[in-house]
Symmetry: C2
Subunit: 231 residues, 2 copies
């Protein structure tokens, strides 16, 4: 890694300088780049050209070069990108290396599905606990994650310095649960409660998941494809 670091020279400095200026549109594409690069690593790939990356991602090569240039550019002419290095640096930029700590509130089907995935740890996010109101499962473990009573949520978040709360509770409970977490210092809410969550705390970031919007996009594409006109 030493020589690569040398090649990329002033990268760290550049990131510090340019980070604040990376356009939102680029930031939105980075998780996807990160995910593909992660797959390449698992396949044992070491380098990739922007042309190949372009084909894989369905984005033009010039778009890729432009995006990666936004934060210093990692490629070398005729040499391509170092997959692991690029993956690591994009991860760093996205916050993967921050060691964020999370709890999942609601141990229903969706909460369990989130407890079962490797999605969190793969992105450097640690799952500390599940919370639920059902006495039958409080005190048990689900996929190795301990389940506590929702009554203990605030106290736990405060004590364990939880960064992110994942909301999989029914719509009706979403606001009050998010409120408890926000007051206990949680700074990010990942909201699956199928309602727009707006909290009176500007410092708390909310990411709403709307699966229904995705379903409708698919329906629209089916409808359009089935009709006479094509775009």
């Amino acid at each position: 890694m030493e020589s690569i670091d040398k090649i990329h020279g002033t990268f760290e400095k550049r990131i510090a300088e340019t980070k604040a200026n990376v356009p939102t549109a680029v930031i939105k594409r980075l998780p996807r780049y990160h995910r593909y690069l992660g797959e390449l690593i698992r396949e044992g790939r070491m380098r990739i050209s922007s042309a190949e990356l372009s084909e894989l991602l369905g984005v033009t090569a010039s778009q890729i070069r432009q995006d990666l240039n936004c934060f210093g550019g990692f490629g070398q002419q005729g040499y391509g990108y170092n997959v692991k290095y690029l993956h690591g640096k994009i991860g760093e930029l996205l916050g993967v290396t921050e060691g964020f700590r999370t709890v999942i509130v609601g141990a229903g089907n969706l909460g369990r599905a989130l407890a079962a995935t490797h999605m969190f740890e793969r992105r450097g996010v640690e799952r500390l606990a599940l919370f639920d109101v059902n006495p039958d499962i409080i005190g048990t473990k689900i996929y190795g994650i301990p389940v506590y009573s929702t009554d203990e949520l605030g106290e736990f978040c405060r004590r364990e310095r939880v960064d992110i709360g994942v909301l999989t509770v029914p719509k009706e409970a979403a606001f009050s649960v998010a409120d408890v977490m926000a007051r206990a210092g949680v700074r990010g809410i990942w909201n699956f409660a199928n309602m727009e969550l707006s909290l009176p705390y500007p410092e708390v970031e909310v990411e709403n998941i709307h699966l229904g919007d995705s379903l409708m996009t698919l329906c629209y594409r089916l409808k359009s494809a089935g009709g006479a006109e094509e775009d």
Copy 2:
């Protein structure tokens, strides 16, 4: 409804004329408009001004007017939008009224969570069946939806004219299951298998769900908010 239809006059014709020309960016915003309007209906609201709609959606009023003008414009100066009419027409444009038929493949936690929601029927999509390989649940019902063996998937899709297949199977099985469905006439795949699914059938629309990308976006926002620089 008659008088409203009169007010909006040539709407149907306009939709037919302009549909093919609605920009993709607008189409992407429509599910969100549709969702908010649905909430307003449930709250009993009849009319809404573009100013109010703008505040609710966090989009400028002129953006809203521009978006809705793309397919004919439903508002009246000083009168606002008719919530139910607008909801219905956007739904129509998106394909909600097409009566798409779907099956969910994989009755694990995520499949069960999807079986439990009202998301599908609310968007006019009918869930016909769940499919799984687990003999313990084949022949049972989950949230009222019958569970069949994955062996019967192709035959079922063909016979029941299934439009959309929801994939919640493990990554390794995703391609072969999607392939069976595509060969049986399924035209849309809603893919939760946490891998990019590319099928050799250009006529099949695939909508990939990448929850991990959303998690990373949240991490990035937390990281940025926590740092010295703000944008």
